[in-house]
Symmetry: C2
Subunit: 188 residues, 2 copies
């Protein structure tokens, strides 16, 4: 096996693993493979190049790229004299992780909070209303307790997402730089 084959095989392993695990970000393996293609590419790619490389249609590439753009996993690039749209990976895994939370999870937290608060208000009215039957009253009280527990959790979740957006989370879980050069090390 020559050296080029070794390199290809090494990349193939990463692509295989990565494109499957990307289901955690809610994307399909084929979108994951596109991400990996861009990841290993040393230059921005066009839709035609992607289509060629992955053997898929241009329409698929267009949709896949849009998905990755929405997740902030790829970015548009620009090159003088090139009319076609070019794309490169956003090669910061931390940012990718944080962006995912500040879009998808934030949306869920917001939606849930709204529904929960509206419902809590309604239940409150039901509970204070003297016409409410005993059976419904008891159920409403139980539901209230559960929903307030959830509301508290969504508040916590929002603060967790805040800490990712502001990167304050890195104060708590610091990045351990590997090839730390001398000038980066704290002084004696």
């Amino acid at each position: 096996m020559d050296d080029m084959e070794i390199l290809e095989q090494a990349r193939a392993r990463i692509i295989e693993t990565k494109s499957n695990n990307m289901s955690l970000y809610g994307v399909t393996p084929s979108i994951g493979r596109l991400y990996c293609l861009l990841f290993f590419s040393d230059k921005p790619l066009t839709l035609d190049e992607m289509k060629e490389e992955l053997g898929m249609s241009k329409a698929s590439m267009s949709l896949a790229v849009r998905t990755l753009l929405e997740l902030n996993m790829v970015e548009k690039a620009w090159r003088k004299g090139v009319r076609k749209d070019l794309y490169v990976v956003n090669d910061d895994p931390y940012q990718r992780f944080f962006d995912y939370f500040s879009t998808k999870w934030r949306l869920a937290a917001t939606t849930n909070t709204k529904a929960t608060e509206k419902t809590i208000t309604e239940l409150q009215e039901l509970i204070t209303n003297p016409d409410t039957s005993d059976e419904v009253l008891e159920q409403a009280k139980l539901d209230m307790e559960k929903l307030e527990n959830w509301r508290e959790y969504y508040d916590w979740l929002n603060r967790l997402i805040d800490s990712m957006e502001t990167k304050e989370i890195l104060d708590f879980i610091p990045i351990r730089r590997e090839n730390q050069t001398d000038k980066d090390k704290p002084g004696i």
Copy 2:
């Protein structure tokens, strides 16, 4: 609209919102509805009761419950004299969140770390081998840099998941208790 209808409608809103947002946990809306059914139920339910309530087959309920069990979102319950299996929700949203990370995300982090480290080793050999062609050598060096960046990130991700498993994350993002009773409050 009588009080029972108001209660039902209130629950319906939560169920609607929640069962859709649960796609973040990688489960389908129908599994989400099952989770909500158990959430609002004031007693453990059997497969037959779930099937009845949601109008689905017993086989579906069996599969759905297993999925929720794997995610630690429901637990088996037991009642004297009841032969059928009983299930209740694990009603701790924080725990549910943490469990999700310590299973799904941990698995991804572990898998990716292994693939990445194995590949880094291979690339290292390729780089130190004097027979490697210049073209491959250059590519290998670029790949190395990217992969080491990722390895660092997986290390960070693992430590984040650690902090959820140990709940140390709550030292950084504390829970804001709402109906805090006097005895819970810190002394003067």
